[in-house]
């Protein structure tokens, strides 16, 4: 597509889409290295690349003392890494980190920039996009390429999670999109992969306009729901804190954690940070129990990556039954009590007891 500069807002630069190439993925780091959430964004980058093989996947890694991690994105599928390792980037400020990426993007002209919608990503992503005078699509659940125009399609559920909107950025570049953590898996690690590492130096640095003056780490003892492999999730149907206690008991027997629907959060049964769904978190446990959850589209959006779903619901017509693997119709309370008891007995008897159970 040829952009007609006369038609563009004069506050924007006039650039032609074909001046831009490559797919960038912004890497976020913390004291443990590169975050899993940002490596996950290499999955949609590879999908876009599979339709546009001429584009390279470039990981952009900025911060202080982070050069040591530069090989990691390559092993997970990046072709190149641009590294900016500078003491002045020791503390993250959205404007400073944002401006570094803006300046790199002005120099290299990437066609696509993908950012994980972590807290930092949600703060910095739209800042980067706007400073480049380009569009950004938040919380995509998939990415594709328009076969006719070659534009990237940013796919997200608008408003309600039963429809998908395909959004493109036809006359501006880079095309920017974010996705929530855990919507995509991290591409497998491949030791044999190699790639180019480009080191960029900063000359000047943007004034952050703010100073971090106090930082008190919060200790989280519980496993985050994003990382849990077994989740017992409760809905409004759980009815009371006593019900939540039963769910907790089941979860702790299986080494899992408790999460909930938005109505369970609104009713005060679970903490807001344990909400699953479109406006909560996406989770990817091996096993997801949905207890007293109706199966609203906005909730189910958060469990698309779950391995198996077990639903217990008193209403045989509940939509959850059409979206789970194993459904049981009934009042959850006696069922959970029996399930906990059976599991405790199994646990005492040992693995041999399973054969007996399956023979019945």
């Amino acid at each position: 597509m040829k952009v007609n500069c006369e038609k563009l807002c004069p506050d924007w630069p006039c650039e032609q889409p074909d001046e831009f190439k490559d797919i960038w993925v912004v890497m976020e780091t913390d004291e443990h290295g590169i975050s899993e959430a940002s490596l996950q964004m290499l999955t949609p980058a590879k999908k876009i690349q599979s339709k546009k093989p001429e584009e390279k996947i470039v990981a952009v890694l900025i911060g202080y003392n982070i050069k040591q991690y530069a090989e990691i994105p390559i092993k997970h599928g990046a072709d190149k890494v641009i590294v900016v390792d500078d003491e002045r980037l020791k503390t993250y400020y959205p404007r400073v980190y944002g401006q570094v990426i803006v300046d790199l993007a002005k120099k290299y002209k990437p066609a696509v920039i993908l950012v994980s919608a972590t807290m930092k990503g949600r703060e910095m992503g739209p800042y980067i996009a706007n400073t480049l005078r380009t569009g950004i699509t938040a919380d995509c659940t998939d990415f594709d390429v328009d076969e006719k125009t070659g534009d990237v399609l940013m796919i997200r559920p608008p408003f309600a999670a039963i429809m998908l909107a395909y959004i493109k950025t036809p006359f501006r570049r880079p095309q920017m999109g974010t996705a929530r953590p855990n919507v995509f898996p991290v591409p497998p690690y491949d030791e044999s992969r190699t790639g180019e590492i480009i080191e960029e130096k900063l000359e000047t640095i943007m004034d952050p306009g703010m100073q971090l003056v106090n930082y008190v780490p919060v200790k989280k003892e519980e496993v985050l729901i994003e990382k849990a492999e077994i989740i017992v999730s409760v809905g409004k149907g759980i009815g009371s804190m006593d019900g939540v206690k039963l769910a907790e008991k089941l979860a702790s027997l299986l080494g899992g954690v408790v999460a909930g629907s938005r109505k369970a959060v609104d009713a005060g049964f679970v903490d807001p940070e344990r909400q699953v769904g479109q406006t909560g978190k996406s989770v990817k446990p091996v096993l997801y129990f949905a207890i007293g959850i109706s199966g609203a589209a906005q909730h189910m959006l958060g469990v698309r990556e779950a391995g198996r779903i077990v639903a217990i619901n008193i209403d045989p017509e509940a939509p959850i039954f059409k979206q789970s693997d194993y459904g049981v119709v009934g009042d959850y309370r006696p069922i959970l009590e029996a399930l906990i008891e059976e599991l405790q007995q199994l646990k005492e008897k040992g693995p041999e007891a399973i054969e007996e159970l399956l023979k019945e």
Binding site: K7, M124, A160, I167, K168, T169, L287, A297, R308, K322
Partner: protein, 280 residues
């Protein structure tokens, strides 16, 4: 202090229903409300005014029906409302929306008095992008802090903003003017007061500005000023699931049925064994 707070007049998504046959939204009769996530932002603005004096100005880019939303927040103690409204603003994505809001804030600074801080909510319930705060900060060249839970002035006229991230409670001293966006449910909003409502009725402190008032080029607003376009809308693809549903004789039967399914399902059986006995 002069504090601008951005609000949005949104359809009440709780009340929106779907036609299960066509999958389309049934919007008829759906009432609009002030975006619930804007209330902590309004509360923060009002608290700053309570502590340091000055005025709070609510701003929204919307069709004239959003006047109702502005009236509602005037009832909470907001001093003025500014409605940025023009047919040429329609169809805007977040870049074009933030542009008009940023230009509105510049006009406030020029004509009403310099703005010290602009506060936005966590996100909107109808599109949940959380872009506007960051984009307005980018247009204005102001620093930006998201996920704020509280703020107060400190020496040198800086704003000390507290926020909580996944890992820590952080405090920043931010140079003013600045843009702040609040965290979800960060502050409990105050109720509407009759006396404020009456004051608003008498003083009518709502001003409407259109594209000419703001002096904007129509190529920069609305659909034309939006780099993103919706190319298509489809159904969400279904996740393949087994969909086996069982109506048990009694709770014990239900429990044993679940366990049988899980232990004969290879994708979870090994995992459960490990969880129970610490081995495969």
């Amino acid at each position: 202090m002069r504090i601008v707070v951005g609000i949005k007049w949104v359809p009440n998504t709780q009340a929106v229903r779907f036609d299960p046959k066509t999958g389309t939204l049934i919007r008829a009769g759906v009432p609009s409300i002030v975006n619930p996530h804007d209330f902590p932002a309004i509360e923060l603005a009002l608290r700053l005014k309570d502590m340091y004096g000055g005025e709070v100005i609510a701003v929204t880019m919307a069709p004239p029906s959003a006047t109702q939303g502005l009236e509602h927040v005037l009832g909470m103690g907001v001093d003025k409302g500014i409605l940025l409204t023009d047919r040429k603003f329609a169809g805007a994505d977040t870049l074009a929306t933030s542009y008009v809001i940023a230009k509105g804030i510049e006009k406030i600074s020029k004509e009403i008095g310099p703005v010290d801080v602009a506060i936005f909510g966590h996100e909107t319930i109808d599109s949940s992008t959380a872009h506007i705060g960051a984009q307005v900060a980018s247009w204005l060249g102001w620093p930006y802090v998201y996920y704020a839970r509280d703020a107060k002035l400190v020496e040198d006229g800086k704003l000390r903003v507290t926020r909580q991230t996944e890992k820590a409670v952080e405090e920043y001293e931010v140079n003013l003017p600045a843009v702040v966006a609040t965290a979800i449910k960060a502050l409990k909003p105050r109720p509407v007061r009759l006396s404020y409502k009456l004051r608003a009725k008498i003083e009518k402190p709502i001003i409407a500005w259109n594209i000419e008032d703001l002096g904007l080029d129509p190529r920069c607003t609305g659909l034309k000023g939006s780099p993103t376009v919706v190319a298509n809308i489809t159904w969400m693809p279904e996740v393949p699931r087994k969909k086996i549903v069982y109506t048990p004789k009694d709770p014990r039967d239900a429990a044993r049925w679940i366990l049988k399914q899980l232990f004969s399902d290879e994708s979870v059986a090994g995992f459960l064994k490990k969880a129970l006995w610490g081995e495969e």
